[in-house]
Amino acid sequence: MVPTWSSFGLQNSASPSMEQLTFFHDFTMVVITLITVTVGLNMFLICSCLLTNRLLLQEQVVEIVWTVIPVFILLSIALPSLKALYLLDDPFTPSLTIKAVGHQWYWSYEYSDFPGIEFDSYMLPESDSLSIARLLETDNSLIVPSFSQIRVLITGSDVIHSWAVPSLGVKADAVPGRLNQVMLYVNRSGVFYGQCSEICGANHSFMPIKLEAVPMAYFIKWALKSS
C-alpha cells in the first residue's frame, strides 16, 4: 500500500501482525491523548489561577492516588503490548523462503526454493514515467503468494540497510555478516511499498522495496516461468 496525500495515520494493514500493531497503536493513542489533555488542563488551571494556598505543605492521599492510577494505566498499556509482542514472534513453518540482500543502493532477492530465481530491484527514476509513485517504483518487484507463510532472510552486503514494508508491519536491519529473519503472512493481494530504513549513504532514500502479493496459482505460474 502507498501512503496517500496528507495521510496522518498508519497505512491499512495487509497482515495479521500489522492488524495487531494497529489495534495496539489506536488503543495507546487514546490513552496518551487522555493523559495529555488531563495534564495540559491541570497545567493551564494552575497557571491561570490567581490564588495560592500559602499553608499547603503535603497531601498524602493525592500522592498515593497519582502514583497508583498511573500504575494501572501502564499495566493496561503493557498487557496488550506484550500480547502483540508474542503474537508477532509466533514461530510457524514457512512454505517459502526468500533472501533479501541490501546493497548500495538497491535490493537483491533470491528464491532459494526455486532454482535460478534471483534478481536485483532498482528504483525507477522519476523521468521514466510520470504516473508512477515517485521514489517507490522499482524495475523488478518481489512477488510473493498471498495467504501463505513466508520467511524472509535479510542481510546486507556492504553497509547496514533496513528492509521495511509498513503495511505488513515488517522491518528488520540488513546487517552484513548476519541473517535476520522476519515472517510474512499477507492476507490480501495487492502491491505494497517500503523504503530502506537505515542510513546507508548518498542514495539511501532511493532504494525502495516493492512487494506484489498474488494468489498462489499466479505465483506458481510466475515461479515456473522464471526459473
Binding site: M1, Q11, V191
Partner: protein, 136 residues
Amino acid sequence: MALRRLERVFCQQLLQSAVRCQSVRAGSSVAHLDPYYKIGKREVVGYGHNGGFNYMDRPDFPMPAVRFREANNEILNRSHYRKTTYHRYFTVLPPLPASFTPENQAIQLRNMIELQVDPIDGLASKYDYEKNQWKK
C-alpha cells in the same frame, strides 16, 4: 498605580542590565542601545549564537549577530532577515518535482484506486467499484 510604575521601572532596568551583560560578553564596556550599532564596518543585526557580536557560520544558529557584508545601499535595502529568507527560498531551493502537478496527481490517484490502496478505511474504501465512482 504605584505598583505599575514600579513594574515599568523594574522592566527597564532588567532590559538595560541584559544589554549591558551582552556588551560585557562581547568585550565592551558600553551599553549598546543603538539599533544601528556597528563593529567596524559591519552592522550588528541580532543575538547570534551566544550574544557575542561576532560572525560564525553555524547551521544550528543560522542568523549570526554580525552581517557578513559591509553595510551599503543594497544591504540596507534588504536589511530584513525575513526578506532575505523569502528571497533565498525562491532562488536557492530547487523546483518541485513533476509528480506534484495536478495532472500527475490525478493519474496517480487513478492508479491508487485501481490498486485498491487502503481498502479498509482509506482511499479505496471510499470508492464504489461497482458503479465506478466515489461513494456518496
